[in-house]
């Protein structure tokens, strides 16, 4: 490997020291006898990441030591070993030793090998003796059998929610992409008592196995107390490389767990549900910690400032709010026609209702919003790993992580982003040598950015690599018969080719990208979310992929406009301003098109009645109104008969109920019960320009 890892050393040391501080703090909080699983997890993670890092950088002494430490922690985490005073001391000593080792390595000085090997030996002794009362540890020792994880064991716990059932079916290439089910299952086991059933049906005879492929699938069960989020997080890295279902029966009887199949994995089932079971299993179970355990259960259940609500419930709420918005619109419309003594009061009340509706709707929507950092957070490590594997030097820049997105959108955007980032690293950024030869710094940059743009969220993945190689793309496309030999394409059209199914120009297939799944999948996934992907690229300078996504899938602020007898909704966010035209402000160009002079700019006019084939009240521009709207950075004037009013409208998908129409993003039901189309301004601009071109 030609990568110079020393540049990462400083970061590794810094992180490790911080992590060790965290580990120490967690250790100090750890209650002997009834450890909180989360604390043990924190400690485990520290050991694990230091082990990984030191192995990567070739600090084998540290790696070896942390391996022993990790093994011990794994025992604790799995509940196979009790947290005793002795163990806790041992762990604290390990922190000290690790710190000393890291300092020594950092200062390029020899490690105190004696001290390290002594402690490592003690760790191994502790692991080996975990089933016997450790003689050296003194009296303050709880035997393994008495220990159970709070919140999972103890009889004091409230009725348990039904257990999660997770079906995890990796795709073949999961392993080759650097994911390991073992690691995921280990993390799951750390969340709570894990039952594992493997499905090895697909495992072919040894001779037919491709050693890099994964043929196994798993059915897993986890305690209901574990949050779905936590489970999902475990699989986050494998998203897109596996089929995953996480569900739990709506209301399973409490007895289910005991009656259920015996777990096949004794190693991963730390706690027996009842004391009787524990007593029956481990011969001498001194049980000193019953009250402590109870306390732990209570605190584990009681101190959370949040409740878990299923997504369906929120969706239901959202739907109801949507219907309410429609009803409120209906009432407002009725109210505006009222006359009489109480009409003023009625209108006041309706205005109040509208305000409250808006607040309600915003609150409900906020429940569903999560910062995009949930998705971004997986990238630093991914980028580092990939860069290492490919021998490239890459800096990852993340900005706009706090931009919030609807949860549904967020969940589905991870996959496309992973693809894009992988592509940037694999195809985009050149090798350090090539970069330096091209006069750039050896270190490439991948930049992930998220921001609001109009009514949308834009997520950008850009790199300062070589950019798309138009000639190679074109050659490849010709090769595959996607483009005729004689056709000439614009640069933009050439760039579009990469979104065709099965298109990859990687010279050799790496395990990172170039498997024929790629940009087409990205585009399809994004489209399913009502968004779009665009690419801009400059040869030698890099490329920029922009994913534009709707902020929410449910409600939009709209201006209703009249065209003939029809009503259309223009999203308020797209509107720059509305105005009445003087006939002098309009210039007719050759052919059919008209432009309007707007603040020193000329904007094309789109006559909606022409586009939608509606009979307008008037065809004369000065008799109607022009709505100046903006989409994808372009402005146009939409010619309409009249402006009706501003209101919130609930988006009903046209695709789901009818089919896609260019220029229309959905439909809504108005207060009077009629249906109005919601205009998609960028789409309108496209539709109009293709008409103009035709």
């Amino acid at each position: 490997m030609t990568v110079d890892l020393t540049q990462f050393h400083a970061a590794f040391f810094e992180e490790s020291f911080e992590a060790l501080d965290a580990m120490e703090a967690a250790l100090l909080k750890l209650d002997v006898g009834s450890p909180e699983p989360e604390l043990i997890n924190t400690i485990f993670r520290v050991a694990h990441s230091i082990k990984g890092g030191s192995a990567t950088f070739g600090f084998s002494d540290i790696a070896s030591f942390t391996h022993s430490l990790e093994t011990l922690l794994d025992e604790l985490r799995g509940g196979r070993m009790a947290v005793t005073v002795a163990v806790s001391d041992l762990l604290l000593k390990s922190v000290d030793v690790l710190r000393a080792m890291l300092r020594a390595v950092q200062a390029k000085q020899p490690i105190d090998a004696q001290r390290v090997s002594d402690l490592q030996f003690d760790l191994e002794v502790a692991i080996a003796r975990k089933d016997e009362p450790p003689a050296a540890a003194g009296p303050a020792v709880a035997a393994a059998g008495a220990l159970s994880q709070p919140g999972v064991g103890g009889e004091a716990a409230a009725p348990k929610p039904p257990r999660w059932r997770v079906r995890f079916h990796p795709y073949r290439e999961l392993l080759a992409r650097g994911n390991d089910p073992l690691r995921m299952l280990r993390e799951l086991a750390a969340l709570g008592e894990l039952e594992v059933r493997v499905d090895a049906q697909m495992l072919p005879p040894l001779a037919d196995i491709n050693p890099q492929d994964c043929y196994l699938a798993w059915s897993l069960e986890l305690p209901g107390e574990v949050s779905e989020e936590a489970i999902r997080q475990v699989f986050e890295w494998a998203e897109g490389d596996c089929d995953l279902t996480i569900e739990r029966p709506a209301c399973a009887p409490e007895g289910l767990r005991e009656a259920g199949l015996p777990p096949q994995t004794p190693a991963a089932t730390p706690a027996q549900p009842t004391h009787q079971a524990a007593a029956a299993q481990s011969p001498p179970p001194p049980r000193p910690e019953a009250p402590a355990k109870q306390e732990a259960s209570v605190s584990a259940l009681g101190d959370s400032g949040s409740i878990r609500v299923s997504v369906e419930k929120i969706d239901e709420l959202m739907n109801t709010v949507g219907e309410l918005v429609i009803t409120q619109a209906m009432l407002s419309q009725l109210g505006s026609h009222f006359d009489g003594a109480d009409a003023e009061k009625l209108r006041g009340g309706l205005a109040q209702l509208e305000r409250n509706m808006r607040e309600l709707q915003e609150s409900v929507m906020r429940v569903r919003m999560l910062p995009i950092s949930f998705v971004f957070s997986r990238f630093p490590r991914m980028v580092r790993d990939l860069a290492q594997r490919l021998g490239k030097q890459i800096e990852l820049k993340l900005t706009g992580e706090q931009t919030e997105l609807d949860k549904t959108v967020l969940e589905k955007i991870g996959d496309p982003l992973v693809h894009l980032v992988r592509n940037c690293i694999d195809h985009g950024i050149e090798s350090p040598e090539a970069r330096i030869a091209a006069g750039k710094s050896g270190e490439g940059t991948v930049h992930l950015d998220a921001y609001h743009r109009g009514g949308n969220i834009a997520v950008e993945v850009s790199d300062d690599g070589g950019g798309l190689d138009g000639e190679r793309i074109l050659a490849k496309a010709r090769d595959r018969g996607l483009v005729g030999a004689g056709d000439t394409l614009t640069d933009a059209e050439v760039n579009e080719l990469i979104f065709l199914p099965g298109f990859s120009t990687a010279e050799k297939t790496t395990d990172v990208s170039g498997r024929g799944v790629g940009m087409d999948v990205v585009r399809r996934n994004v489209k399913q979310l009502g968004g779009k992907v665009e690419v801009r690229s400059e040869r030698g300078r890099g490329s920029r992929f922009t994913i534009t996504l709707p902020l929410t899938l449910a409600i939009v602020d709209g201006q209703s406009v009249a065209v003939g007898t029809e009503t259309y909704i223009v999203p308020l966010i797209s509107i720059v301003e509305s105005m009445q035209l003087k006939s002098t402000g309009v210039t007719r160009l050759s052919g059919h098109s008209e432009v309007l002079s707007f603040r020193g700019d000329y904007l094309p006019i789109i006559r909606l009645h022409e586009l939608f084939g509606v009979e307008p009240r008037s065809r004369a521009l000065h008799e109607g109104l022009v709505v100046v709207a903006e989409g994808d950075g372009r402005r146009v004037g939409l010619f309409v008969d009249d402006l009706l009013g501003q209101q919130q409208v609930v988006i009903k998908s046209l695709e789901a109920n009818y089919g896609h129409i260019e220029g229309v993003s959905g439909a809504t039901i108005l207060g009077d019960g009629s249906v109005a189309l919601i205009l998609d301004v960028p789409g309108l601009i496209r539709a109009a320009s293709t008409r103009a071109a035709a």
């Binding site: 030996f121 191994e124 080759a176 390991d180 493997v198 040894l206 050693p211 890099q212």
Partner: protein
């Protein structure tokens, strides 16, 4: 302390490399199949070749795991196929030595039974 270290009670975790290769040498002669220290996806192709070579052997194959320190799904999957294929053909395998990594991993992946790992070793 150092004198104690010569006979550690467990067969894993940070044992010096030298000792592993010595162990390998000692047991190579009796025809047992010795798993390497790393049986992960990076070494999976080698492992497959190693296992495939012994698949058809009519005598019981002894798989020595005492050197094994790291194993992942790729490695376990190959072992599972090996054990299963041998079993279907009516040929036995026996395990020699203990490897915490193997036992823990097999337990987590639910492959403990399929691998026919010794019960008491499985905790």
């Amino acid at each position: 302390m150092t004198t104690r270290k010569k006979q550690p009670p467990v067969s894993k975790g940070g044992r010096p490399v030298k000792r592993r290769s010595a162990a390998r040498k000692r047991t190579r002669d009796d025809g047992s199949l010795i798993l390497a220290c790393d049986c992960t996806v990076a070494e999976a192709a080698t492992l497959k070749t190693q296992l495939a070579r012994r698949l058809g052997e009519s005598d019981a194959v002894t798989v020595d795991v005492s050197a094994l320190q790291r194993i992942d799904t790729a490695g376990l999957q190959l072992l599972a196929a090996f054990v299963r294929d041998r079993r279907t053909a009516g040929r036995a395998i026996t395990w020699r030595g203990r490897a915490a990594a193997l036992e823990a991993a097999a337990g987590l992946l639910g492959l403990h039974d399929m691998l026919e790992l010794p019960r008491e070793a499985g905790r």
